[in-house]
Amino acid sequence: MATPVRVTMTVNGEQRTSEVEPRLLLVHYLRDHLGLTGTHVGCDTSNCGACTVHLNGDAVKSCTVLAAQADGAEVKTIEGLASNGTLHPVQEGFWEHHGLQCGYCTPGMIMAGADLLAKNPDPSEEEVREALAGNLCRCTGYHNIVKAVMSAAKAEVRA
């Protein structure tokens, strides 16, 4: 085994430091080392987006980032998206509009949707669909996911 590397990052507002294998993927660091199992793995090839988290404010696929590359970064996962017990509007939208069925793609889908709205608060349906094209869902057919993100956009724009 290669010499472990020391990584320090802020995850959901909390500073975490660990010694990890250089090849350790960020998603496995989050799941196996920090116990943040809301971030899922679905494909191993960066196609499905179930592992999407925010890295320094951008949505990334954490199966394609090494934990070592996230050294010094701010990471936000699905567990850190609601604040003080209040759901993020995208989470509310998913619940209200039945944007999930089995729930497995959902954390990644919500993180991708939240990233879109942070950058484009009032997207068109086409923009939502394009923004979510890197996240696969086998259950919902995307109809209600798109509705959920659109409704969250409206809620945020109104607020």
Partner: protein, 823 residues
Amino acid sequence: MTAVEPAPGAEKWVGQALRRKEDPRMITGRGRYVDDQVVPGMLYMAVVRSPEAHAKITSIDTSAAAGLPGVHGVFTAADLDLASPLPMAWVPPGVEIKTPEHWPLAKDEVKYVGQGVAVVVGEDKYAVVDAAEQVIVDYDPLPVVVDPEKALEDGANLVHPEFGTNQVHEWTIGGGDMDAAWAESEVIVERRIVNHRTAGAPIEPRVCIADYRGDQLTLHLTSQNPHLIRLFMAGELEMSEDRIRVIAPDVGGGFGVKISHFPEELLAAWISRKVGRAVKWTETRTEHMSSTIHGRDQIDYVKVGAKRDGTIVGLDCTAICDFGAYFTLLTPFIPSFTGFVISGCYKIPNLNFTARGVFTNKMATDATRGAGRPEATHLIEMMIEQLAHELGMDSLEVRRKNFIPKEDFPAEVAIGIVYDSGDYHGSLDKLLTHVDLDAFRREQEELRAKGVYRGIGFSTWMEICGLAPSRAVGPAGVGLQAGFYESSTVRVHASGSATVYSGTAPHGQGLDTAFAQIVADQLGITPDMVDVMHGDTGTGPFGLGTYGSRSLAVGGESIARSTGKLVDKAKQIAAHNLEAAPEDIELVDGKFSVKGSPDKGLTLAEVAGAAYVTMDMPDGMEPGLEASTFYDPENFVFPFGAHACITEVDVETGKVDIVRYVAVDDCGPAINPKLIDGQIHGGITHGVGQALYERIHYDDDGQLVTGTFVDYALPSAADVPSYETDRTETPSPVNSLGVKGVGEAGTIAATPAIVNSVIDALRPLGVDFLNMPLSPQHVWSQIELAQGRGAPGDPGKQGGSWGEHGSGSAGSGPTSPSEGGAL
């Protein structure tokens, strides 16, 4: 967070589009899937898999792997001492099925790419993959057979030489007289319709944790039917069932692929017992594509005969069914489902369906969403539009002319199955309130003049689901070696809330919410007060699981019956307290009260309190408030609907875009319309995937070339439109809720609507038949061919003819699943 709120003024929970009880944990990352779980001391397992499609194993050297630090064991078939191989559960009376023994690791020979050859367990999940790479296997390649039609030819290479043939079985269902049908027909249309191989591809792969300790085995498993898995494992491991507990917690989608019993959970359990540590295995996506069951893969030779006025006289289909090398739980049974619905929505007096199963050097096929019924709808609805074109009639007119009329239900079709209820004219009429066909035809003409090619296609579909009933599906019926009832226990607690234990194993359907709505209405409480438990053999009665659109029609009815028993008991307790007769007690506004005196009565909590504290109980009544039911219905249920798809084809590139998709479906009275719409949206998209994008492809050497999501294209949000959905509600007489299934409906309906619409778009260019998947390359090639232009090489085709069909009497050119690429 409150899970549900009542709609203002609503009297019942059933029928309301409640948001789901399941969601709060899932939208906050607090779901509990198998891979999220950790058992102290757990080891990780990696599987060494065959890179060869067919080869003799000449040696396996495990020494290098076994010597690596942290490795606790390397095992091959020679180490295993299992009592029995993996099961296949179909023994049809009077039909011979050649069934190869299916062991969890290859013995002597490998017969498909991805077959397990050895397993490694160790401390670290990365290191165990490294160790698996150090297992050295020598192979001596053997001849490979990939094309199922060539596999049936004399002299073909044999997958299992001991059988002397690659043909697995021949199974037929029919009715009437086919010779008379052809004699009576004025028009006959024949086509070769390819329903290619696809993957179920839930986003959560298969995962297990086997934890054997103190003579007890706990298996955490991504399963659609944990109770059956326990039964099988008890036999294989020679353990009594009471010492095995199988738990399917949150399961990240199934689509059929998590019904079967797979090698890995058996290996993990066997190794856990052997090494005394828990063992976890997490499938990679590539393993999913190579070593989890595939779906479809039928080549259907279809012949339809009709009168000039459009009356269909007969339909015959012979299906060549590629089963791969070994069977999983239901492999050879799946095409029979195509036979059960070969009549579609139509009154066809003469019918025949024959399935011929074939061994090839591929992964097994088995149930994926729809299982045999998408194949049936596809071939029937394609043939309806092909026939209509041949007759010069409107395809909707042909459909209406042949629909089983509403007044005929319950309707027995020529193969002897009785459809429970239906209104096929009604669903098509409702569809046409959303789709102005005349306006579309005008627009289509105008756009064509500008070089824009749009088409419309229809699918008026029906299906058979709600598996159950045992007498039809079980050993005495078509021969599945199980009963197909569903179980439930409903327990009202002393404080007046309830827990429901269901034998179903939902994995995304929202049944916690739907079941709670049913029970809440019956007991006069809110859905928030009803907890639904499932997927754990350690709690609740033996159940059959979730697949075949059965959970509501069979499992939900079972729960309604258990709850009904509790209501009867509650009425007796209330009557005793109120000094009235039980038959005079009714449940009004959450109180069991005497008819006409709603103010004075007992709430469920008061009734339950009496039942558990044993105060004021009728003489001789047992304490407690709990009931169980094993419900075995009298018949299947038969959902139906009408779908329309409008596509636009870029004739320069062959790219197909879905412009509109409108679906009218009927699954009986809605328990929760939100859940129904969700199932329909997802089901349609699964069909879009097969029609346009997805295809499992093996090359001529049996190498899997679609082994990741890079090569196997699931539709994304950017590939599909928002859907327009509507419903009709025709109750089923089979169960008290009147409900039918909906989980597979969209997938069963969708593919012919899409393909018919593309054909409609391209008819002016001479394209009048297409097989799936409609990749740009394939569509463009067919346009080129129809236009009489030369055929530049199509990398997806190896030696096949360009011609896909001919109009009129014969479908000519071959397009097998190994041709006509989605690549």
